[in-house]
């Protein structure tokens, strides 16, 4: 990896006298951050906020694991344990995973990748962050005021009639967070449709863009449904309108249908952006075009489409019709096909590639393995008879942590490292990054693999008492969680340090193709001095000389966009 290059002579003097303007040093006041309309700054605001919620969710997770070292539940009362896992789930799903990649990395990178000056609606983008922050504040207030014990799924009629917690307040928070993600979704759809640089046709788009397009479609179609559903639950707590209350002739199962109509697609909101990152990183790490580009692109759309037809697999044991269950089971198997296409195509890309094992690539490889395990165990759960045994056990918990942590968060980490030099203009410590990636991989498997075994043996989820014979597996899992925790702390340290001590990044530290690498690191406020004109396919690594340096692309007319840029930016 190259570090920095000699500035061109004519810009040299200027750089000496005053630092080059970029989006970070353009303005310094607090207001210039809080009222910014620059997608890059909003992405940074989002990054800080979601990190905050990740820490809170992580603390809750540690407490859960600590409690489960003993079969007798010694640390918490039943009530506080219920509130603990609810808080963990609600924060991690609605306040971390759903916005994690789109609102941070997507927000930052999408306009750069498509050669635009900003998203289509910068003010809507800022509004999205404010909605998110307000929602987060309300959720935290609700937790401080007693929290909820409904689980992240808010099943009725418990949540709508019987639970005593701060259900209404929490539901309002999730409702508002939903609108923040709708705002992001609409913004991305319009941006990807209308703001692409001249010559950047759909099939020249990086797969990251395709993935975010599919994600946005899911957000726009799914989120309103869960929003109104949760709103109905909140209303029902105040006025007995009875829609979900069997005592009044209402239907609690209807709630589950409406909830999962969003929440199954929502798992793809969490995984698809991650898959987009993996495509970028694998192409760069193998220095090859993604094998079967079109198939990978369309598989994102297929996942978005099929994803809306499988929600019933969460409800096999609710007494839904057997025939319905059979159809849901079948479609759940079908939805695994596009996911498998991606996995096979990534593997085929690596095959005979010129592989560099940089930290993002390590996370990407981890993603492929862990997502495969997570996806395949999803198929176990989608098989009717097997699910009767496994549902509501730790097997389900292990399944979704393999896809959400092993998949979505590994992708997030890959992307964070890959674009860190672009976002901050600094290089992080690659050695520590690799060590941390290794520790996270080990810790992750140690935490969650035992949970497959526990679930298979019959340990139910959401209880803090369990038969003593399960203790060994639980202690193993908690030990793994400690390793995992350390694994996450290390990047927190070296990434923060890189902001001060890191070497300045060049425009293109990974020697990658893609428009975002043609502008300075960190990019200027307007992203590009001139709007680029695209004449090449995505991932055309043949157009880069195969050396470890930042040379200009032969096919680019944009004089000075890559070479001759002083580290730190243009202008």
């Amino acid at each position: 990896m190259s570090i920095q290059q000699a500035p061109a002579p004519d810009t040299y003097v200027k750089q000496e006298s005053e630092p080059v303007k970029n989006y970070l040093n353009a303005e310094h006041t607090v207001a210039s951050w809080l009222l910014t309309k620059d997608h890059k700054r909003i992405a940074v605001l989002y990054l800080i906020s979601i990190t905050f919620f990740f820490i809170i969710g992580g603390v809750a997770a540690s407490l859960i694991r600590a409690e489960l070292t003993s079969p007798h539940g010694r640390l918490f009362t039943n009530d506080s344990y219920n509130k603990l896992f609810s808080a963990h789930g609600i924060i991690m799903v609605f306040f971390f995973l759903v916005p994690s990649i789109p609102a941070t990395i997507g927000n930052f990178i999408i306009p750069l990748m498509i050669g635009a000056k900003d998203l289509a609606f910068p003010r809507l983008n800022l509004l999205s962050w404010y909605l998110y922050t307000i929602a987060g504040g309300i959720a935290l207030t609700a937790m401080i005021m007693g929290g909820v014990d409904t689980g992240w799924t808010f099943y009725t009629p418990y949540s709508s009639v019987y639970s005593n917690g701060q259900v209404v307040m929490t539901l309002i928070a999730v409702f508002i967070a939903g609108f923040s993600s709708i705002a992001t979704g609409i913004n991305f759809i319009v941006t990807i449709h209308k703001m692409r640089a001249p010559g950047l046709t759909w099939f020249r788009l990086p797969l990251f863009i395709w993935a975010h397009y599919a994600t946005s479609v899911i957000i726009v179609l799914g989120t309103p449904v869960v929003a109104i559903t949760l709103a109905l639950v909140a209303v029902e707590r105040v006025f007995p309108i009875g829609i979900f209350n069997p005592a009044q002739g209402g239907d609690p199962i209807l709630f589950q249908h409406m909830f999962w109509f969003y929440s199954h697609p929502a798992v793809y909101i969490m995984i698809l952006p991650s898959m987009g990152i993996i495509s970028e990183v694998i192409a760069n790490g193998s220095r090859k075009r993604i094998f079967g580009y079109e198939l990978v692109a369309f598989s994102s759309l297929a996942i978005a489409g099929f994803g809306f037809l499988v929600w019933g697999h969460h409800m096999f044991v609710t007494g839904e019709s057997v025939y319905l269950a059979m159809v849901f089971s079948l479609i759940s198997f079908l939805v695994a096909v596009p996911s498998a296409i991606k996995v096979f195509n990534w593997t085929a890309t690596i095959y005979k590639g010129n592989v560099t094992l940089h930290a993002p690539m390590m996370y990407a490889l981890g993603f492929i393995g862990l997502f495969t395990i997570g996806g395949l165990t999803g198929l176990f759960l989608a098989s009717l008879a097997v699910d009767v045994h496994l549902n509501m056990t730790y097997f389900v918990v292990a399944h979704f942590h393999y896809v959400m942590v092993g998949g979505a968060i590994f992708g997030f980490m890959a992307g964070l490292h890959f674009w860190w030099p672009k976002i901050t203009g600094r290089l992080y410590n690659e050695l520590w990054a690799k060590i941390a990636a290794g520790i996270i991989f080990l810790g992750f498997n140690l935490t969650f693999f035992p949970q497959f075994v526990l679930g298979y043996l019959g340990m139910p989820r959401r209880y803090h008492y369990y038969p003593p014979e399960f203790q060994a597996w639980n202690i193993l899992s908690t030990a793994g969680a400690s390793v995992l925790g350390v694994g996450y702390l290390i990047p927190a340290v070296y990434l923060s340090l890189s902001l001060i001590y890191g070497k300045k990044a060049s425009a293109n530290p990974w020697n990658a193709v893609g428009l975002e690498w043609q502008t300075a690191s960190p990019p200027p406020t307007e992203n590009f001095e001139d709007i680029p004109i695209v004449t090449w396919e995505a991932y055309d690594y043949t157009m880069l000389p195969d050396v470890e340096s930042d040379l200009d692309y032969s096919s680019l007319e944009n004089e000075g966009s890559v070479s001759g840029v002083p580290a730190g930016g243009v202008k």
């Binding site: 449709h193 703001m195 179609l221 006025f239 309108i241 009875g242 409406m258």
Partner: protein, 232 residues
Amino acid sequence: MSVEAAHSLHNEPHEHEEHLAHQFMNREQQDESYIVGMWSFLVTEILFFGALFLCYSIFRIQYPMAFQEGHEELSWVYGCANTVILLTSSLTMVLSVHAAQTGKRILSAMWLAATSVLAAGFLVVKLAFEWYPKFQHHLIPGVNFHWPHEQFTEVAAGKAELFFGLYFAMTGLHGIHVVIGIGIMAVLGTMLLLNHKSTQYYMPIELAGLYWHFVDIVWIFLFPLFYLIGKR
């Protein structure tokens, strides 16, 4: 000042670039972005209401008797009146958009005002002539619900409460959209009168128009489902 104001009413070519936000390359791109964005938003709105219509359909099929009897408590006269009011308001909205497109600023503001007055009329009928009597007749779930027919029909009070729950939830959500619409029209109308920069260009009014037609269409579905179902 006055020269400038008069001048900006005409849609001269160089005027176009003036209303171009920095992230767009040209007006065409900007216009298309706004339109695509608004339609995407309306799609989310359709799903938002769609979930409620789903609930309605399911319980209507399950409890036809409760829906029949509940419906008889509603007055189709007021429903009809409100339908006429809203349809008229859609017409005035179209006229406002047309005026904006042809650069008639004051006229556009006047039609917006007319639309808001009609929208307010809709709310008056809804609240004063429909919701308030429901309160007097003890038909508000949770507040004072009492179902008079309970003694002599097999329809349990809970199911009637469910019907009214849906009625208030759906017309209430629609009502909130009407209130938001009035707010938008008030702001846009004022901006037009003040000749604010953003409304010298017709797109904001066009977008408000799309929104208002959507609100109208939702009512076109609510009206028959609640007020006309008994008239087989």
